[in-house]
């Protein structure tokens, strides 16, 4: 029996795929955005600009939707986040302008490399208490300090290498605007590796920065016609439902095996994106 592909069936399929992207993204902590664009571009044959537009609004939905849950844990640092958002929002506008100028092939290759990096990061062990570096001279005057709850009571921390972190955040914003993703992986790199903030502070602060960063490029996307409502509708609703369910079951689920499976999927998608980008098949 042959079922004709109508708009209704297409919309339901996109919503289902987006639901699983959001669910896996929340369960593994990698975010749904990294698999959404390849899913839309490779599986559903959607142009990469429309895919990025739909993905970007979904990233805002998951970031804002999960904010309440993350804040309650008491790890996120609003000052460090706000200071670094100066860099990410400026980068996001640059990235969105680049997205209007670069060819689909170039964007696909950059996307593939970003996916490979995300997969690598998810396989790496996460040290809870980072090696202390000398605090940056700017950390105290800019109040880039704080404390976070541990089993042994609140633990104070401060920031190292502030200019490096700020620069990396500009890069994270540019990638976010170019690819329509949250680029949480690069944000965590800037805070965790460059500024040596505790891992949980980095991940939760990154989540709250993702929505603000994405909102900066959303205006450019909107005015350039990247945001196709008929496509963004099932994507945004699917991802939101999936990620809300994901954060609910997160406490009970055993995620290490899931992370490995997800990382393998990401590597396959990365190779596919790079290959199709180079051969001009997107």
């Amino acid at each position: 029996m042959h079922v004709p592909m109508t708009t209704l069936i297409f919309t339901l399929l996109v919503a289902t795929g987006s639901f699983f992207a959001g669910l896996l993204g929340a369960l593994t902590g990698l975010g749904g955005g990294v698999v959404l664009v390849p899913l839309l571009a490779i599986v559903f044959g959607v142009d990469i600009h429309y895919a990025a537009g739909a993905s970007l609004v979904s990233v805002i939905a998951t970031s804002s939707g999960a904010a309440a849950a993350y804040v309650r844990e008491g790890y996120s640092n609003i000052r460090i986040g706000m200071f670094l958002e100066i860099a990410t929002t400026l980068g996001a506008i640059l990235g969105a302008i680049l997205a209007t100028k670069l060819s689909t092939g170039v964007i696909a290759v950059v996307f593939g490399l970003m996916l490979l990096y995300s997969a690598y990061l998810s396989g790496r062990p996460q040290p809870e208490h980072p090696v202390n570096l000398k605090p940056d001279r700017l950390a105290k005057p800019l109040r880039l300090e704080g404390s976070y709850p541990t089993a042994a009571g609140p633990l104070a921390y401060t920031s190292a290498r502030v200019p490096a972190g700020f620069g990396l955040m500009f890069g994270a914003g540019t990638l976010s605007g170019l690819l329509g993703i949250g680029s949480g992986a690069v944000k965590v790199l800037a805070m965790d590796q460059a500024m040596r903030l505790p891992f949980k502070v980095s991940t939760t602060t990154s989540n709250f920065m993702i929505g603000v960063t994405a909102a900066a490029s959303a205006g450019v996307y909107l005015s350039r016609g990247f945001i196709e409502p008929r496509l963004a509708m099932p994507v945004m609703l699917g991802v939101l439902a999936g990620s809300l369910l994901g954060t609910k079951v997160l406490v009970r689920a055993k995620t290490s095996a899931l992370r490995q499976i997800f990382a393998a999927v990401i590597v396959v998608l990365a190779i596919e994106m790079i290959w199709k980008g180079i051969s001009g098949k997107l």
């Binding site: 592909m5 109508t6 708009t7 209704l8 297409f10 919309t11 044959g45 142009d47 990469i48 429309y50 609004v57 805002i60 939905a61 970031s63 804002s64 939707g65 904010a67 309440a68 849950a69 804040v71 309650r72 008491g74 996120s76 609003i78 000052r79 706000m82 958002e85 100066i86 929002t89 400026l90 506008i93 969105a96 302008i97 800019l142 109040r143 704080g146 709250f208 929505g211 603000v212 994405a214 909102a215 900066a216 490029s217 959303a218 205006g219 450019v220 909107l222 005015s223 350039r224 016609g225 990247f226 945001i227 196709e228 409502p229 008929r230 963004a232 509708m233 099932p234 945004m236 609703l237």
Partner: protein, 134 residues
């Protein structure tokens, strides 16, 4: 600032953040409801039609590109414009978050961070409204 004062300001930070988090969630749910409404209208009308062409990029129609025309299209009950209005509400949630943060820093008299926050807000509004980016 003494340690005691800093501890109090951290507690206030925390309470303000929790309140903002709840507010953002309400904003996202409202946006999702509007998108769902527009989506239902769209599918009721066009659900049986062949899938639109998304394979090549030609940009969405001008009615769906500016805030003003999205609002007027929604008032005329155009399904596409209603979905886009929901997406606009969604884009507004992080902007609201930044505005709340500016107010919270002002109440704490942390002028450095009021400045930083207003700078972020300026970049956001530039992205949303600047004609040079059109």
């Amino acid at each position: 600032m003494s340690t005691g004062e800093r501890a109090t300001s951290r507690i206030q930070d925390y309470q303000v953040e929790v309140a903002i988090g709840v507010l953002l969630r309400v904003g996202v749910m409202l946006a999702a409801a509007v998108v769902l409404l527009g989506g239902a209208l769209y599918l009721a009308k066009h659900g049986g039609a062949p899938v639109p062409d998304y394979k090549s990029f030609h940009g969405v129609s001008a009615e769906l590109q500016s805030i003003r025309s999205i609002i007027s299209g929604s008032l005329a009950l155009h399904a596409d414009a209603i979905i886009q209005l929901g997406l606009l509400l969604l884009i507004a949630t992080p902007v609201a978050r930044v505005i709340f943060a500016a107010v919270a820093f002002a109440l704490e008299r942390d002028m450095l961070y009021v400045g930083f926050t207003l700078l972020v807000l300026a970049v956001l509004l530039f992205g949303l409204f600047d004609p040079a980016l059109r």
